[in-house]
C-alpha cells in the first residue's frame, strides 16, 4: 500500500471509516474516587461493540469535586448505540443494575441538549412510592431511598445524534511487546482527549474483524488479512517485518473529537518510534461506501 514514512514509521495512505451514532453522557459520583470508578467500570463492562453488547461505552474522564453537581469526586461515562431506543434501553439497564447498586453513588446528566433520555425518570419506580423529586434551578432530581441512604439521580440526560463510532488506528509492530507498547502510548494520549472513549479492553482490540464468514450463522469473523500467523496462507496486508497487529477503536460525541483523538494517537505512536513501538500504522474501512465519516491518516500526520 502507498504510504509516507514519518520518523521511521510507515503511515498508510488510507482512512478510517466511521458511522453516525446516538450518544449520551453521564456523570457518576461517589464518596470516594475508588467508588466512583467502581460504579463507572461496572457500568461500562461488556460494552465494547454494538453488535455483541448493544452499546459501546467507556469512561471519558475524571471530574474533580469542583466539576460535579454534588461536589464529590466523579467520572464521566459515554454511551453509544445505533438507535435512540436501544440507547435508552442500555442506559436504563446499566444505570439500574450497576450504578444504583453501587455504594454511595449518584448519577447526573453529562450532556446538555434539547433531546433527552430518561434517567431517573425511568429508575424512580424502584422507590416504590417513597421516591422524592427535587427541582433545583432548571434541573430535576429523583431521590430514591436505598439501604445505604439515598440514590440521587437526575431525571433526564442529554442525547446527541451527532455521535461518531468507529474511528480507528491499526498499529503494526515487529513484536507483540513493541506493538502493545505503541498501542498503550496511543491510548494514554487519547485518554486526555475529551468527549471520546475507546470501548475495548484498556482501549485496545486485538481481534479486529471483517464482515461475514465462511459459516452462515456468523456475521463477523477474524480479519485474516491482518493475522500474522496465517499471512502466507491468505491474501495478507502485512509486510514481512510485521509480527503483531493491534487496533484502537474510538467513539466520540462529535466527528471533531474523533479526529483529534486519532491525531494525538498517531502522534504518540510516531513519537515512540519504530524501535520501541510500531513500524507501520493503518486504518480500517469498508471501501468508503458505508460510513459517512472518513478520517484520512495523511491529514492527521504529526
Amino acid at each position: 500500500m502507498r504510504h509516507v514514512t514519518v520518523k521511521g514509521v510507515r503511515v498508510d495512505d488510507t482512512f478510517a471509516e466511521a458511522f453516525g451514532m446516538r450518544a449520551t453522557a453521564l456523570i457518576i459520583t461517589a464518596d470516594s474516587a475508588q467508588w466512583a470508578y467502581q460504579a463507572a467500570t461496572t457500568m461500562t463492562g461488556f460494552g465494547t461493540s454494538v453488535i455483541g453488547c448493544g452499546c459501546e461505552t467507556g469512561i471519558d474522564r475524571e471530574l474533580t469535586p469542583k466539576e460535579t453537581p454534588d461536589s464529590r469526586f466523579g467520572v464521566r461515562v459515554l454511551l453509544f448505540a445505533v438507535s435512540t431506543s436501544e440507547l435508552q434501553k442500555q442506559l436504563q439497564g446499566r444505570v439500574g443494575q450497576c450504578v444504583l447498586t453501587s455504594p454511595g453513588s449518584a448519577c447526573y446528566a453529562g450532556l446538555a441538549g434539547e433531546e433527552r433520555l430518561k434517567l431517573g425518570n425511568a429508575l424512580r419506580f424502584f422507590g416504590d412510592g417513597w421516591q422524592v423529586s427535587k427541582r433545583l434551578g432548571g434541573r430535576r432530581y429523583w431521590r430514591i431511598p436505598v439501604m445505604d441512604g439515598e440514590f440521587v439521580c437526575e431525571a433526564t440526560t442529554g442525547l446527541t445524534k451527532n455521535g461518531v463510532g468507529g474511528g480507528n488506528l491499526l498499529i503494526m509492530g515487529r513484536s507483540v511487546a513493541s506493538t502493545l507498547a505503541a498501542a498503550e502510548a496511543a491510548v494514554k494520549a487519547i485518554n486526555a482527549v475529551p468527549d471520546v472513549i475507546m470501548p475495548f479492553p484498556g482501549g485496545i482490540v486485538r481481534s479486529g474483524s471483517k464482515v461475514g464468514s465462511k459459516y452462515k450463522t456468523v456475521r463477523a469473523s477474524t480479519n485474516d488479512a491482518y493475522c500474522p500467523t496465517i499471512r502466507g496462507a491468505v491474501d495478507s496486508m502485512l509486510d514481512p517485518d510485521i509480527g503483531s497487529v493491534l487496533e484502537i477503536v474510538i467513539d466520540g460525541l462529535t466527528a471533531a473529537a474523533v479526529e483529534l483523538a486519532m491525531r494525538v494517537g498517531l502522534a504518540a505512536i510516531v513519537r515512540l518510534g519504530p524501535k520501541q513501538g510500531a513500524v507501520r500504522v493503518s486504518a480500517g474501512n469498508y471501501g468508503g461506501k458505508l460510513g459517512p465519516h472518513h478520517f484520512h491518516l495523511k491529514d492527521l500526520l504529526p
Partner: protein, 270 residues
C-alpha cells in the same frame, strides 16, 4: 439603558394597586401614557403621575424610589425584566410573577410572592404572613421560582407551596410550610410552633430547631445526604450563610402523618 424611575412624592392617602406598573405592560409606553395609568383602589382616581415623579428610561429596568407600605401588588404577574423597590411595600408583592427579578429593599406585607411561578424575588427586610401562599379559594401557593427573605417571615410561610424554593435568612413564624404540596423551604433562624402543619410532600430545612414540632412528624434518623449537597450548591447563589448550614448531618423527620406524610423536615441532629 437607564432605568425608568418612579419616585413617590408623598405617602398616598389610599392604598394603591401597582399591578399595571410592570415591565411587560410598560413596554412601548410614553411618559404621558405611563403617567395616566390608574392606580386607585377607592372611588377617588389616582394615576401614576399624581403620586410619582416619572423619570423616563428603559421599562425593562424599573426602579421605584421612596416606596411605602400602601403600595400593593408591586411586580404583579411580571414576566421578565427587573424591578427594584427602595422602601417598604404593601401586600401581594410579586404575586403570580413568572419571570424576571423583583428586589424589595425594605419589608413587605402579607402574601408576598403569592402563587409565583418563576423568576427571583428578594426581600431585604422582613415579610408578612403567608409568604408565597394562595389567596382564599386558590388550590396552590407558590409554583416555581426562588424567593429570598433576608429578614424574618411571618406566619404560614410557604403555605400550600407546590414547587420552587423559599429561603428565609431570619426567623419564620408559626406553621411554617403549612399544607405544603411540594417544593423547598429553608429557614436559617428558628421558627414558631408547628412547622410543616399538614404538609403532604416537600422539604423544610430548619437550620435551628423549631419551637414546637408536631407529634405527627416521625423521626427518620440523622443523615448526611447527597440531596442536601445539591440544595446547598443551589442555595449558595442566593445566600452563602444559609448554604453553609446545609452541610453535614441533619435529622430527618417525615410527615405530616396526619395527611399524606411524604414531606420532610430537616433539623439539627440534637
Amino acid at each position: 439603558m437607564k432605568a425608568l424611575v418612579l419616585t413617590l412624592r408623598q405617602r398616598p392617602d389610599q392604598r394603591l394597586d401597582l399591578s399595571p406598573v410592570v415591565p411587560h405592560l410598560l413596554a412601548g409606553k410614553t411618559v404621558t401614557e405611563i403617567e395616566h395609568i390608574a392606580l386607585q383602589t377607592t372611588r377617588q382616581r389616582v394615576t401614576v403621575g399624581d403620586v410619582f415623579r416619572v423619570q423616563m428610561g428603559d421599562g425593562q429596568n424599573l426602579r421605584i424610589d421612596g416606596a411605602c407600605e400602601r403600595l400593593d401588588r408591586i411586580g404583579h404577574a411580571m414576566t421578565a425584566g427587573e424591578i427594584l423597590v427602595e422602601g417598604d411595600v404593601g401586600s401581594q408583592a410579586g404575586r403570580l410573577m413568572s419571570g424576571g427579578r423583583l428586589t424589595i429593599n425594605g419589608s413587605t406585607g402579607p402574601w408576598a410572592a403569592s402563587g409565583m411561578t418563576g423568576g427571583t424575588m428578594e426581600i431585604t427586610a422582613a415579610t408578612g404572613d403567608r409568604l408565597g401562599g394562595p389567596l382564599a379559594g386558590e388550590m396552590a401557593g407558590m409554583r416555581g421560582g426562588v424567593v429570598i427573605v433576608r429578614g424574618n417571615a411571618g406566619d404560614r410561610a410557604g403555605d400550600r407551596m407546590r414547587r420552587g424554593t423559599i429561603i428565609v435568612e431570619g426567623q419564620a413564624g408559626s406553621h411554617t410550610g403549612s399544607r405544603m404540596i411540594a417544593g423547598t423551604l429553608v429557614v436559617r433562624r428558628g421558627t414558631g410552633p408547628l412547622p410543616g402543619y399538614l404538609m403532604r410532600r416537600g422539604t423544610i430545612v430548619l437550620c435551628e430547631t423549631a419551637d414546637v414540632l408536631l407529634p405527627t412528624f416521625v423521626d427518620c434518623g440523622v443523615h448526611d445526604l447527597v440531596a442536601m449537597r445539591l440544595l446547598a450548591d443551589f442555595v449558595t447563589a442566593y445566600s452563602r450563610q444559609v448554604a453553609a448550614r446545609l452541610h453535614g448531618s441533619l435529622r430527618r423527620l417525615a410527615g405530616d402523618m396526619a395527611v399524606l406524610g411524604k414531606g420532610e423536615i430537616f433539623c439539627p441532629p440534637s
